[in-house]
Amino acid sequence: MNWVKRIFARRRLDQELSEEMRGHVEELIEELVGQGMPRNEATAAARKRFGNLTLIQEDCREVWQWAVVDNLLLQVKLAGRRLWNSPGFAAAATLTLALGIGANVVVFSVLNALLLRPLDAPHPENVYLANHFVKEQPGWTAQSYRDYLDFRDRQQGFQGLAAYGFIRVGLSAGNSTIKSWGHSATGNYFDVLELQPATGRFFHASDEHGPGSAPFIVLSYDFWRRQFGQDPNVIGKTIELNRHPLTVIGVAPEGFHGIDPLFWPDYWLPMMGADEVTGSDDRPYRDHYFVMVFGRLKPGMTPQLANDDLNRIAMQMAKEDRKDDGLASRVVAPGFAGDANSPVKKGLLGMMLLAVLVLVAACSNLASIFAVRTGDRSGELAVRMAIGSSYWCILRELLIEALLVSLAGGLVGTLVANVLLRGLTHWPLYGDLPVHLLLAPDTRVYLIALALSVVSGLLFGLLPARKVWRTDPIQAIKSGALEVPSFRRFALRDLLLCVQIAVCTLLVTASLVAAMGIRRSLRVPLGFDAQGITLAMTDLGMAGYSGEAAVAVDKRLLEEAQHIPGVSAAAITDYVPLQGNGAAWFVYPEQTTEFLPSHMAFPAMTYLVSPGYFQAAGTRLLAGRDVSWHDDHTTPNVAIVNETFARKLFGSTSVVGRRFALWATARYEIAGVVQDGKYGSLDEPAQPAMFLPLAQGVGGVMSPSVALLVRSTLPPSQVMPELRRIATAVEPRAPFVLESWDDQVDRAMLVARAAATVLGIMGVLAAMLAITGIFGMASHSVSRRMREQGIRIALGAQRLQLMRSTLGRPLALFGMGLLLGLVLGWFTSQLLEHLVSFATPREPLVLIEAIVAMVVVEVVATVIPARRVLSADAAQLLREL
């Protein structure tokens, strides 16, 4: 950018030019003196011959167009000075915009992080997820390994299909064990993504020669930095996963964290060896869904064509194995962006819309203020126009002022947003899951902030400028005001105010809906009572336990826990509801003979519980009995089901003694029924769930995951040290995580609360903007007609008539805006549904609240102007006439 350099170097270039020309004149003098002319005469002659030095210099400067730059800088300086002289106005305008732009930057950053940021791999646009499913369940994308193999070997649309699964294990390096999450991945995982390691090497398909052939592990960059301080000598070292040694062969590139948008795995290990680490192997079963499949499209291939290819293969597969009956495939882009029905996506887009509306309201507010300021300067502007200043000149001045304010507002807003976003990045979203949202603004965010600033500056700067355009200088000088003829039926200001009130109503409605949603979500029956419960969670697999041995540890833990002072109840479950994890199994009717996924009734959340779990958790047993320690592998399988399970499978809730099956050899008799609860999230619809005896496992399959629940009258802070002591005493090798259940439930509501908070802030912002907007309009209207009021009072007008004549217009506009806003709210209710559960803008209560809130806004805004009208002294006003 040569011309930028020139602008900054222009002082130096200027000096060089004068020096050069001075030198020229001196040389001329020398020459004349050399010809015998006296020096003073020679000087005069040389000056004369050279011509007007300043003029020539100006001509030279013109060549570089410095005049334009200087002029612009001068204008900016002038505009800055004007703003400096009215600090209140400048600060208010900057702050208004900072809030509007800041809100947009925050929402856009989240949107950017979740929807727009591409995969950290070469050519991310070619990478697609290939989901397949037999009976589609919302939120289910996991598939079976056997199906994956068939697809991989027969498909023609992808350069390669790879798969990965999630594993949670105890990781030991040195002598400490920590709980960690990673991916088990097929050999071609990194090759399909076309990644290069940061150091060391990756594993490849050629490394896989049957079970145990690839005891390798690849670390994520983040984990490498956290755990090993980026030590390059980590390559070749041994890390133990669940006491199983693996050799570190490489580190993934910085920033790469797999395919899922929020999940940050610590490592990848070949799927071939994963079963030895986790102790269970799901790979042989065509109906065990646990892998995610993705691939890179061949050049020239579209997702649709690849999908058709996969579906054709799925039909073949269904013919070969009836477990694949009804198998279908869907190729989608990875992340939330690829999911057309993602509530996250819709919610974010809704939020973005509301944020833009806040900015629109702020801009329309500023436009009114700028219009008034332009009006105040009308005399000066009129004189300038009369002596030949062009419209463009004045317009440019107004625009520069508006842009200065908007850029300052944008800067402040972006800075504040930046601080906020950095804080948000460190939010723990889901318990012990390694979930991070990278919110740090990138170039795209800054560009958007800049664009928003400039556009809003142009918007509110140009609207009042229309006035200047239409002004007749002669009229303006005469009356000294650039007033557009009043009593027009609908002025621009009126329109702006109307829009502002409508937007405000909409945002206030949204924040009221959010507040109501939060209020209701706090009252949602959870199906358990988290208050007073402390949890100690671990995975016994990490200490090398599996099967029956784990149950013995469970019993010891329970026994010790019951002796902690203040403990009224203790129980064990493998997973805790609302923790963000858990298992689900397919439930089949009793008479099922062919256990094909297409024949299942539904998948049910499955918990393995110890006796006394319901009592400890505060879950009501509605019928039948609790499980007991006598329910073990020597006795028939029993299950406690929830109401939804009973109703969905049998159509009634008196189902004790009835039977169902999970697979051919896992048949269950229902021993009891408990109340419904929330298992995955607070706003999920009623879910079927079953609770099976810990000692029986799921048809004999034990879970190594353990959560010890302890109910105590003492606060968790006093229970935790004791709990930690007994946990370490019983099993020192297993890393226990201690937490109060209340905190966990709070975290489940974090996103909803954050959404509600943002909506609430936007509502308050909008209300503030509306108050200042209405106040400005009403005050203006009152002061403009004060003299007229004096005459009216003198002629005997009643106060009500006075009020009507001055405040009628703002009131009418308010009414129109309110109505418009409510109608908009009604039609945007679908958008809000993705942001807020348990409430919609269509409820009468919300409508009433919104109207009341807006009337309060209106009253607050008009009370001062109204008092001025009422306290008007006719005699004084007439004297001023």
């Binding site: 050069e20 020309m21 030198g23 020229h24 020539i56 210099q57 001509d59």
Partner: protein, 117 residues
């Protein structure tokens, strides 16, 4: 605003001619402003005298267009002067302009020649 005073510069020479002469002089050897005036005056055998008021803006224009480069040097008279040097771009521009100019001059000469018809 005062604008468009660039037109007033064409008192004795049109802009293209001055530029061509400057470039041609610089092609022979790099020199500073004063020397350029002298050079053109001598070459034209006192027929032409370049006005400083046209020379310096022209030099700035050519600097901006990248036809010439400037450098501070000591002159033969031990004076610190800004010496101009023609660039490769300038040479090309000069050749193009000269051939255009020659054709135009030829045309004008033919038109102005006493008619034989």
């Amino acid at each position: 605003m005062v604008e468009g005073n660039g037109e007033a510069e064409q008192r004795d020479l049109f802009r293209g001619a001055l530029e061509m002469m400057i470039l041609q002089s610089l092609r022979r050897q790099p020199m500073h402003g004063y020397a350029l005036v002298q050079e053109i005056q001598q070459r034209s055998e006192d027929l032409l005298r370049v006005e400083e008021g046209s020379l310096y803006p022209a030099l700035q224009r050519m600097l901006k267009a990248g036809l010439v480069e400037a450098e501070w040097k000591l002159s033969a008279t031990k004076r610190r002067v800004r010496t101009y040097r023609i660039t490769r771009n300038g040479t090309k521009h000069l050749e193009r302009e000269v051939s255009k100019f020659t054709r135009m001059l030829e045309g004008i000469t033919r038109v102005l020649a006493p008619g034989e018809s």
